[in-house]
């Protein structure tokens, strides 16, 4: 199952904040930041269980994260990935001459994967270095 024409927002969550202070290379951080929160009704269209890995793609890259149902909805058409190395695979690096990348508002699409592996932070960066 897949969803298209979504808008991806990124940002802080308290869990991501707690996890990053506890160690950005821990499993706790993966569970806090390697997730994508969907609007309740949008999620039904994906037809999968919460926690299933999904692939989020934008014009700037793609990343596999765990799916969750948002507690900050309704926000149909919007998905949210907490800030961190996972969301940074898919944000817009262009600053339009201002110095600050465009971390929010990218057009995105999501696909449920049969065999998707969510990488931890270090493996994600390692993969980036080797690409």
């Amino acid at each position: 199952m897949s969803l298209e024409n979504l808008i991806l927002l990124t940002g802080r969550t308290i869990n991501q904040g707690v996890a990053l202070e506890g160690g950005k290379t821990t499993k706790e951080n993966v569970r806090a930041a390697a997730i994508c929160a969907f609007d309740k009704d949008d999620f039904k269209k994906l037809d999968c269980l919460a926690g299933t890995p999904v692939k989020v793609s934008t014009a700037f890259g793609e990343v596999i994260v765990y799916s969750t149902i948002s507690e900050e909805g309704p926000h149909p058409g919007i998905i949210f990935i907490p800030m961190g190395p996972w969301s940074n695979q898919v944000v817009n690096p262009s600053t339009q001459g201002t110095g600050t990348p465009t971390f929010k508002g990218m057009k995105a699409k999501v696909e449920v994967l049969k065999n998707g592996k969510v990488l931890d932070a270090l493996d994600l960066i390692k993969q980036l270095k080797e690409a």
Binding site: I7, L9, T10, G11, R12, T13, I14, G17, V18, L20, E21, G22, G23, K24, T25, T26, F60, G61, S70, E71, E72, G73, P74, H75, I78, F80, M83, G84, P85, N88, Q89, V91, N92, P93, T95, Q96, G97, T98, G99, T100, P101, T102, F103, K104, G105, A121, L122, L124, I125, K126, L128, K129, A131
Partner: protein, 442 residues
């Protein structure tokens, strides 16, 4: 005399977010040099203090990467290698500085100047646009104490303090009693503007849903309506004309309004122009009532980095020293832009984690070149560094000054000693400057 096994520190300042809470209580096991209990801090602050305890994630000795694996070395050897990397580079980048105290930031400026390097801090990816806007149109600002005591209308625009500044609402903006707001929450009207119905929005009095990336048009429509122009459109950015007119009425009739704004405005398209128009709106509202604004700074001392850089160089971030004097131009000398063009050939990362927080393509280029990390514990940046210089946690293991989001300076406390051979960021940078000066023959 019974020796005290547990020492309690009062009025400790929390080194996490820009709210810079100054009422924490910390219990330290004196013998073990460990934090054993925290009171008053939020979840994140608590975690930070506990994470300073010796554990598998803390660096205790300097390390150098040799053939893919790390070996522990002496400070002298590590600093020597770091100095060599920086001197050899033709366009080195000194980045970070937001999670350390002001004296260390000041040393960073000195080092950048000696090296002819690029000097930047995390404002570059965060509230840099706010600074750009302030440089264009000024900013009506005040301090958190004033907002706590006076504001009867509080607006969070593109900001979600429940998640990012957990105690802000309880200490300054929503649930606290103020001198003129004696009934606390009931004396305030809270508005949240956000594309999502965030947890902050869920407890507000009015939630305005705005389309992502269309905040500028909404602010523009509000300003025009305030000036007495009736807009032609029926709806702007997902908000109806009636809602806009109603909102303008609320704004004008407040006794004292404040807009707290965050990444929803700085990190979306239009960046600093969102802030520019928000500032102009606030300025124009002062024709009718008292209105101010406040950027919700993320790191506890990014405001301090901007202060220190500014009073030393004239500029707050994205500074280039390559021609022997300070020049400023975000977009040209900002870290992400430089890294995207692969223009940097060595980096010194101090008290920050760009591998986690920069777009992937820039991180990839950053790791193509030597990287020195001054960091207390393992992060995705330090885990791939060529030289790791272990630092003490400022605000926990060493004193210093930090600036709150409203630019009030507060003195950080030291509640315990740093473990192992950790040194403070300031000490590390001072020793690095010595090495560099010596090698350059000064």
């Amino acid at each position: 005399m019974v020796e005290k096994k547990i020492k309690t520190f009062y009025d400790v300042v929390c080194p996490f977010c820009g709210t810079l809470c100054d009422d924490l209580e910390v219990d330290i096991d004196v013998k073990e040099n460990k934090v054993i209990e925290m009171r008053n801090s939020c979840q994140i602050g608590t975690k930070k203090f506990f994470s300073s305890n010796p554990g598998s994630h803390r660096y205790l000795k300097p390390r150098i990467k040799d053939n893919g694996s790390y070996r522990e070395v002496s400070w002298d050897e590590a600093l020597d290698k770091a100095a060599d990397i920086l001197i050899k580079a033709k366009r080195p980048l000194l980045y970070g500085f937001s999670s350390t105290e002001c004296d260390a930031q000041s040393r960073g400026v000195e080092l950048a100047e000696i090296l002819g390097a690029i000097l930047d801090n995390t404002a570059s990816v965060c509230h840099g646009p706010s600074l750009l806007a302030i440089q264009d149109v000024g900013a009506p600002l005040s301090t958190l104490g004033e907002y706590k005591n006076r504001a009867d209308l509080v607006i969070f625009w593109g900001s979600n303090p429940v998640h990012a500044h957990p105690r802000h609402l309880g200490r300054y903006s929503e649930f606290v009693r103020g001198y003129f707001r004696t009934d606390g929450r009931n004396d305030r009207f809270i508005i949240v503007v956000d594309p999502r119905n965030t947890h902050t929005a869920q407890i507000a009095d009015l939630y305005i849903r705005v389309n992502p990336n269309e905040d500028y048009e909404l602010l523009n429509a509000i300003r025009a309506t305030l000036r007495g122009t009736e807009i032609d459109e029926k709806e702007v950015s997902g908000v109806s004309k009636e809602q806009i007119q109603e909102l303008v009425k609320i704004l004008r009739e407040a006794k004292f309004g404040v807009i707290f704004f965050g990444m929803g405005l700085t990190q979306t398209l239009a960046h600093h122009r969102n802030i520019d128009t928000a500032i102009c709106l606030v300025r124009e509202l002062n024709d009718y009532t008292k209105f101010l604004l406040c950027p919700m700074r993320g790191h506890y001392n990014v405001a301090g980095a901007n202060q220190v850089f500014t009073w030393n160089t004239g500029y707050a971030y994205s500074i280039d020293f390559s021609r022997g004097y300070a020049r400023y131009n975000p977009g040209e000398f900002s870290s992400v832009d430089l890294l995207m063009k692969d223009e940097v050939d060595a980096s010194l990362i101090v008290a920050s984690d760009p591998a986690s927080n920069f777009p992937a393509a820039s991180v990839k280029n950053m790791f193509k070149h030597p990287l020195i990390s001054i960091e207390p514990h393992e992060t995705p940046t330090s885990a791939f560094a060529d030289v790791i210089l272990p630092a003490a946690f400022a605000g926990i293991e060493c004193e210093g000054t930090a600036y709150r989001m409203d630019k009030v300076p507060i003195r950080l406390r030291k509640v315990k000693d740093a473990p192992g051979e950790c040194l403070s960021d300031k000490e590390i940078l001072e020793r690095l400057i010595e090495k560099v000066k010596h090698k350059l023959g000064d």
